[in-house]
């Protein structure tokens, strides 16, 4: 789409009342074109999507129509004075609800925006009341807000869902004129977006006059995003008007031209530490983005160890204790910090003032994502943001190179609009019943006005309602325990008040991993594994995923909260660690990055590799590496899949280069291993990174391929997504985790709340067991369908894997080599560093048992 530089047909003077013009003038500003454009859209009673970079005065643009409209209302507006009771014949109706709703993905952002709005309102003396409502708002104030709502309420998708399920919803929302959706590009990529879309559908019914303004960073498909903002008519597509703000100076992005040797693998960028340190030193305030918490921990620790100048450098990521994060944020706002090492925890939101450089460590993953990060530097439009990309290994150099090219072309790779999830729909259906009884036909029609649910089949909707009512089981034994029941007219209503209460406790779509509190205590020293008494208490360092701790044995060391710590023991939900003196933690990472390489950048990397003439833009070391690959094997061609096989140290390896990201590669590795096992190729394990998959085994893979025992086209046939996938899904831990999330979001089981952690002695039931039983006895149950849909795009990335297999079908190039190829080195180096996937329980258990035998033999010998 060509950028739509906007033109307003109306004169600014006609759009902006005198008071506003004077206010702009007094500050030495003039209203920006897109701000006026939104005013005009409001006047024309149109919904609009504003696409603008950070620093473009986006928020003010979103609120100007509201401020202008409300500035005309009578000056005196005491709480409650305007609330009139109006007789509607049969009953009494209240008037005086909300005028404008503002929805933000972050509660901190809502609070920050409220503060920013107070200023123009106070300075212009506008009779407008603005309030926030988040999970932190005191109960008394929340109750008052429901009785005496402000003009403008700033809140989150979850709070909106809660308000919609309350008796006050018709009063609060029927007068609504506008909804402003901030950071819409970020909201719509998750289930929170699904929940929000359903909330919007409800609002369109309660307040047909309501118009929406979406505020978004640049996205790949603005027309699709614009559909989100208006009710979708049956069988057709409708979209809001799109307003694109122009005028941002293009960012200046470069790749760190390191003086050091570029590592073959790893994500720590340790080679570039002194250079990163120099960058921080040379700038006023630098944001250093990394992709995972463990990288943040590691980098922060390393920077501190070389901080001879005593620079104020801080650490910020989602697992740190909230108080600690606030402290960093405050110091940052006050301009007291020279550098902050952070994860995506700082991708969005609150304005940080004078950040003059963004450093991005490691792979950028996606061009849009990188552009948004870079936008965090310098929130003034007319000045270019500056960023330095620091690749942590040779492959990442390629990724950084194509990301810089993509940014120069302003090429976006945000994901397409979601298909609404069924577990979120289940939550919404229960919420609707909590509000007021509904007819299935009516609610189905309403739900389909939400863009993500526009194509929802009736059968799915009915299955969801059946699930909400009595579990949706083929075995109809729960009718008497139903949560919602149909009355004589056929309306669904909540069966008892407890249902309403449990809905309120479980609203929302963010399922935290099970988190454990990490406390620092003094080491007990001595051997590992004994459950001796440990001093309770200890300083709270933050929280960590239970799954990570489960992979550790007592005595293992890892980095947390900027220090190397030693895992001591786990008591209930507390992990006790002590300070370790090792320099290198034994367990290097947790989980790995959340975001896989985008399809778009992957495609560009493949093209770059295939085009030798474009290698000129790469560092010499990388050019040499690729040239060597060309000599020894070959460079993967754009439309083909390169497969190499070679022996090494009594084992045989098979390496392929799909470039489809770690998640899809893990799934691929798992499925290929199963197939090779069946072909009696005796595979032992595999490892996956963002670019490649390496499988090794005892059988001579080269010979088997040459001999026709293994047919590569058959091995990589898309039919692996059939039975093999089914068999694997039955036992996959990732699938079980996906199922658990769906079970929680759909309301099948309650999420755990802090303060009522399950005691480890009293595990009530495990969703893994529920998954096993449900899968065997009702494989088409709506929750399993929901989990499967998640698996397509989530942790298993099945859709992407499927697309790749189709793309390369019949286009496999095999190279039989004597040695490991240069291109294979990075993934080979991950062996032993990354956890080896494969869920063969018996092998792992046997290994543990053998170790025991060996120990015993050693002792006796």
């Amino acid at each position: 789409m060509p950028p739509r530089i906007l033109q307003t047909s109306t004169e600014p003077a006609a759009l902006l009342p005198d008071r506003f013009q004077a206010w702009f003038a007094a500050r030495g500003w003039s209203p920006r074109a897109h701000q006026l454009a939104l005013l005009e859209k409001a006047r024309e009673d149109r919904s609009a999507l504003l696409i603008a970079p950070t620093g473009a005065g986006k928020t003010l643009a979103g609120f100007l129509p509201t401020l202008v409209e409300l500035s005309a209302q009578p000056l005196t507006r005491d709480a409650g004075a305007k609330k009139n009771l109006v007789s509607t014949g049969r009953s009494v109706q209240r008037s005086g609800g909300l005028h404008t709703l503002y929805i933000s993905p972050l509660k901190a952002l809502a609070v920050d925006i409220a503060r920013n709005l107070e200023r123009p309102i106070a300075e212009m003396g506008l009779p407008i009341k603005v309030e926030t409502r988040t999970g932190d708002t005191p109960v008394s104030r929340r109750q008052r807000q429901r009785r005496y709502p402000p003009d403008v309420l700033l809140t989150t998708p979850e709070q909106l869902a809660l308000l919609l399920s309350s008796d006050d919803a018709p009063f609060l929302f029927s007068s609504l004129k506008r909804i402003v959706l901030d950071e819409l590009h970020a909201l719509v990529t998750s289930k929170r977006g699904d929940l929000l879309s359903l909330g919007l559908a409800r609002l369109w019914r309660l307040a047909p006059q309501m118009r929406a303004i979406g505020l978004s960073a640049t996205v790949a498909e603005p027309e699709q995003l614009a559909r989100f903002l208006v009710p979708q008519p049956d069988g057709k597509e409708r979209a809001a008007d799109i307003v694109v703000a122009g005028g941002a100076a293009p960012p200046v992005v470069e790749m760190l031209d390191t003086r050091e040797r570029l590592p073959w693998a790893g994500h720590s960028a340790r080679h570039a530490l002194p250079e990163i340190y120099e960058l921080i030193k040379a700038n006023k305030t630098t944001l250093v983005f990394v992709n995972t918490r463990s990288q943040a921990e590691m980098l922060f620790q390393n920077l501190w160890s070389m901080n001879d100048d005593g620079l104020a450098i801080a650490l910020h990521h989602g697992s740190l204790d909230v108080a600690q994060r606030r402290k960093v944020e405050d110091a940052m706002s006050a301009g007291r910090l020279r550098g902050v090492v952070c994860t995506s925890s700082l991708d969005l939101g609150v304005d940080w003032g004078d950040v003059d450089l963004v450093v991005n460590i490691g792979a950028p993953k996606g061009s849009s994502r990188l552009m948004q990060r870079i936008g965090r530097a310098n929130h003034r439009l007319d000045e270019a943001s500056r960023a330095v990309l620091v690749p942590a290994n040779r492959f990442e150099v390629l990724e950084c190179r194509v990301a810089i090219d993509a940014i120069a072309e302003n090429a976006q790779d945000t994901p397409p609009l979601r298909t609404g999830a069924l577990d979120v729909l289940a939550q919404h259906v229960l919420g609707c019943a909590c509000g007021e009884p509904f007819f299935s036909d009516e609610l189905y029609g309403e739900v389909r006005t939400a863009a993500p649910y526009a194509e929802l089949p009736r059968q799915d909707f009915d299955d969801v309602v059946d699930f909400v009512a009595s579990g949706g089981y083929a075995l109809k034994t729960y009718e008497r325990f139903a949560r919602i029941k149909q009355d004589k007219e056929g309306r669904w209503r909540v069966a008892n008040p407890k249902v309403r209460q449990s809905y309120r406790m479980n609203v929302g779509t963010i399922v935290e991993d099970d988190m454990l509190k990490v406390r620092l205590v003094r080491s007990r020293g001595g051997g590992t594994g004994s459950t001796g008494v440990i001093a309770r208490g200890g300083r709270l360092l933050g929280e960590i995923e239970e799954a990570f701790i489960e992979g550790l044995s007592p005595g293992d060391t890892f980095v947390f909260s900027g220090e190397v710590v030693r895992y001591e023991t786990l008591v209930e939900d507390q992990v006790y660690v002590s300070r370790a003196h090792d320099k290198d933690p034994k367990v290097p990472s947790y989980m790995g990055g959340k975001f896989p390489l985008s399809t778009y950048l992957a495609e560009r990397v493949r093209r770059l590799l295939d085009n030798g003439r474009a290698w000129g833009g790469l560092p010499e070391q990388v050019r040499d590496w690729l040239s060597l690959q060309k000599d020894v094997s070959q460079v993967p061609a754009v439309r083909e899949l390169l497969v190499e096989s070679f022996p090494r140290a009594n084992k045989h390896y098979l390496v392929c280069y799909p470039f489809e990201g770690r998640l899809a590669h893990q799934t691929l590795g798992m499925l290929l291993t199963r197939r090779l096992e069946r072909a009696r190729a005796r595979p032992l394990g595999f490892v996956a990174n963002e670019y490649a998959v390496a499988i090794w085994g005892l059988g001579d893979l080269s010979f088997m391929i040459r001999d026709g025992w293994i047919d590569l086209n058959a091995l990589f046939d898309p039919d692996m997504l059939g039975d093999d996938l089914e068999a694997w899904l039955a036992e996959s831990a990732l699938m079980k985790r996906t199922f658990r999330n769906c079970a929680i979001i759909s309301g099948l089981i309650a999420r755990r709340h802090t303060g009522e952690e399950k005691s480890r002695r009293q595990v009530l039931f495990s969703t893994d067991l529920v998954y096993d039983v449900l899968r065997k006895h009702q494989a088409d149950h709506v929750l399993l369908r929901a989990a499967r849909a998640d698996a397509a795009t989530g942790l298993l990335d099945l859709r992407r894997l499927g697309d790749m297999l189709m793309r390369i079908h019949g286009r496999i190039t095999h190279r039989e080599l004597d040695h490991v190829s240069p291109l294979a080195v990075p993934v080979m180096l991950e062996i032993g560093r990354e956890s080896v996937y494969g869920e063969a329980a018996d092998e792992l258990l046997a290994e543990a048992a053998d170790e025991l035998v060996k120990e015993a033999m050693d002792r006796s010998g």
Binding site: G471, T477, T531, L552, F765, L769, L844, L845
Partner: protein
């Protein structure tokens, strides 16, 4: 299939992958903590877990019974998830239980979840049973020769940053705690203090239920 053995107080049992113990000489099969109708028990409180757990548990029980064809079956307590669970059994489930009981002795041992066992489901009801050197009771006391359930032992083993958790038998050769058999029965880590009370020497072994065999691993290696 390799048969794993667990010796308790000089009696050798076959440890079945399903979590049952079989005493060949006596042709006696023990299973513990079936927790039948746990799903519907939650349903009464508004948590609508899939109502297939009883079918699943009885199906697995039928399989292990047909593998060993025991003369005696002991259900070692907590066979029913709550006091009225047996009333919620479907007619089909009752028939299934009757079929399993036919041609053999069946002993329901009472547990804390089912202190008042139904009299209309066949079999004999007892608080504990002693056969030779072995005593079968629900709650472990640590006594010599005791086979108990109640604790739902499970163990986790880790290697190279990944880990695996399975139900297990816990035994030090003198006494044993059996894993829960029920489809929805959760587990308690064998590193919990409750196990230290039963195995005072701390030198017990976890017999983990793998996919194809049972693995004996020292409890000190698990957590």
């Amino acid at each position: 299939m390799r048969v794993s053995r667990v010796t308790i107080s000089d009696v050798t049992f076959a440890a079945d992958l399903s979590g049952a113990l079989f005493w060949d000489e006596q042709r006696l099969l023990v299973v513990s903590d079936l927790h039948l109708e746990k799903g519907s028990s939650f349903a009464t409180r508004g948590v609508l877990l899939p109502p297939y757990d009883t079918i699943a548990t009885l199906g697995r029980l039928a399989a292990v019974i047909s593998r060993h064809d025991p003369r005696v079956v002991i259900a070692l307590g907590d066979s029913f998830h709550d006091r009225s669970a047996h009333e919620r059994l479907s007619a089909e489930d009752r028939d299934a239980v009757a079929a399993l009981q036919s041609g053999r002795d069946w002993i329901w041992i009472s547990g804390n979840h089912d202190p008042m066992l139904p009299r209309d489901l066949g079999g004999t009801v007892a608080d504990e049973v002693a056969i030779g050197p072995i005593t079968f009771r629900h709650e472990p006391t640590g006594a010599y020769g005791e086979i108990a359930g109640h604790l739902h032992p499970k163990a986790r083993v880790s290697a190279r940053g990944r880990s695996m958790e399975r139900r297990c038998f816990a035994s030090d050769g003198m006494r044993a705690v059996m894993p829960a058999f029920g489809a929805y029965a959760g587990g308690l880590s064998i590193r919990d203090a409750a196990f230290a009370k039963i195995f005072p020497q701390n030198g017990f072994v976890a017999h983990l239920l793998g996919d194809r065999r049972v693995h004996a691993i020292a409890a000190s290696r698990c957590y």
